[in-house]
């Protein structure tokens, strides 16, 4: 999404789902002004964040979109068959497509010629840049303070916490920068690398390139968007590669209040917060040891009293400052992080 580009969010069947609809919700939260409609036939006629939800591409065209962004993430990142028809209709309607799934639309033997004929773009947000390699050590030379969000699971708010802390820091006049590492962050910020889509050996090199680039863009305080979780049975490799490649000075540990099991992986428990803190600190590279400096709790969907209780319990269990930057603003959490960074 270029800034100002009129955007349709494709979220068929998943617009109400925070887990699989995380790209939609991220874009709605941080690029709301560019979104003209959401497509989800299941909820047609409703609205979300003030944006009308429509049943099909034809109805969406009435709102004058220029680009359609794939707003849902599926496990493994491939397109369900029903989606291909949707994509064809978008192209036929003259829309460019922005896609963050692992499947690359630009290489699709059917959609590529259709897009060329319609003179629209197929932008694959997860396409790795050319020339990636392993980390070289240039990450350790970056003259900036680096804070990585880590977490107890996927899709619990690591990107949001990084964005909120960055926004609060910039408001204070700090040369702060959000460093995007996944498709939604890239859609929001307009740059970045989806580190989960590169050759596995090059995750650390991609992370290194991102912190080098973040400094080049003027960031003296870099908020690196975390991915996955060290305790996720499918995504932990990406998490550790990003951790070591981005060489953070400090970690903010994100957790959804009340969660005790990895979502979508029944039987995989989430360890207690104090154990997660110890695991992350022990997993940092000896050459760049990193402490968890704060806990960011996602308390969406519970009431204010329950949220307060969860935050207090987390702080008391770990001895660390805790808060929900979405519910309460990021100011207090930012104070704590900055104090422990210096």
């Amino acid at each position: 999404m270029a800034a100002g580009e009129r955007t349709l969010i494709l979220a068929e069947g998943f617009s109400a789902d925070r887990h699989y609809g995380k790209t939609m919700h991220g874009v709605l939260r941080y690029r709301r002004e560019d979104v003209v409609a959401i497509l989800d036939s299941v909820r047609a006629g409703e609205s979300e964040a003030g944006v009308p939800i429509v049943a099909d591409v034809e109805s969406a065209l009435a709102f004058g979109p220029e680009v359609a962004i794939v707003g849902v993430a599926t496990q493994g990142g491939r397109f369900p068959p029903a989606w291909r028809d949707l994509l064809r209709r978008c192209i036929a309607g003259g829309l460019s497509i922005e896609n963050g799934l692992h499947e690359m639309l630009g290489d699709d033997p059917e959609l590529r010629p259709l897009a060329d004929e319609a003179a629209v773009e197929l932008r694959d947000l997860r396409r790795p840049p050319a020339g990636l390699d392993c980390a070289t050590g240039a990450n350790l030379e970056v003259d900036a303070r680096i804070v990585l969000t880590v977490g107890s699971d996927c899709a619990i708010g690591k990107m949001t916490v990084s964005l909120e802390l960055d926004r609060a820091a910039r408001k204070r006049g700090i040369a702060s920068l959000f460093v995007p590492t996944g498709q939604t962050g890239i859609a929001i910020a307009g740059w970045g690398i989806a580190v989960d889509a590169v050759v596995a050996d090059f995750v650390s090199g991609a992370a290194e390139r991102l912190v080098v680039e973040g400094r080049r863009r003027g960031g003296e305080l870099l908020w690196v968007e975390g991915q996955g979780s060290l305790v996720h049975p499918a995504y932990s490799g990406v998490t550790l590669g990003l951790f070591h490649g981005s060489v953070p000075h400090a970690l903010v540990l994100c957790h959804r209040a009340g969660s005790t099991e990895i979502e979508g992986s029944p039987g995989h428990p989430i360890p207690p917060l104090a154990e997660l803190v110890a695991l992350h600190e022990r997993s940092s590279l000896p050459r760049r040891p990193a402490r968890v400096v704060a806990l960011a709790l996602n308390t969406a969907g519970i009431d204010a009293a329950a949220a307060r209780a969860a935050i207090d319990a987390a702080a008391s269990e770990t001895g660390l400052p805790a808060g929900d930057p979405v519910r309460d603003g990021a100011e207090a959490l930012l104070d704590e992080v900055l104090e422990r960074l210096s």
Copy 2:
């Protein structure tokens, strides 16, 4: 390398290097009977493990090779420019090429047509299989005992330890199987997936597929070849993804006696063994907790007394059985692993 295929090892400039020449040394150790010559102009006229070292492809052809295997691994896995001429000469000489670097020869716009014209094969050992995805949980259903080698660094003998323990177990009539996860293991065993070359999100899925396949091939005791190290600044992501995706019941921790720093990464210390044991055990998935059951020390290059002292010190530091299965045979270590597995 198909069994019985007459093989030339390409090791130009690196035949004496155990780190970068690890594919050569692995093939020499486990497929010696198929190797007819080694190419390294720096050492032409010498021999290694009884195999003649020659200066160029033309001299090698006198030994009647059918396939040339790239015997060196470079950081990042790309071909130095000087190597392209070597590969062209092999193709012109009628040799197929087996390559484990990240660069895919089969996609090379210059070499592909040359190989087609010469009717030789370009086999890319690191090419990911089709249809990979994230781990699904099928790994936990595999009805076999799974042992993963982990280590303090790359290229210190994890593959060798897995192969030696597998060989010793098979000698005892156990339905044991070596599960290859890297290019050298694949060259030796003739199957496997190079987990460091798949899309980062799919490392766990590749590892899952390997243990499922290992059981399908009849293995009831699976020795999964480890990769990288949890404390390696560039490769740790692959290590953790393989760890979680292969869901081992037990770990054998490999270490080169005396090493205190990651090779090729100055300033990155190797933590003490007891700390490495704790890190690995804490990093195992709560759903499939894994203990380090033994230490395998690589004592190549030190004398017998120093080796004994290093092994005793490691055992005493960690309270775990320790040994060098290459120096002393794998029997004793296998006893210890089997006792702790049951």
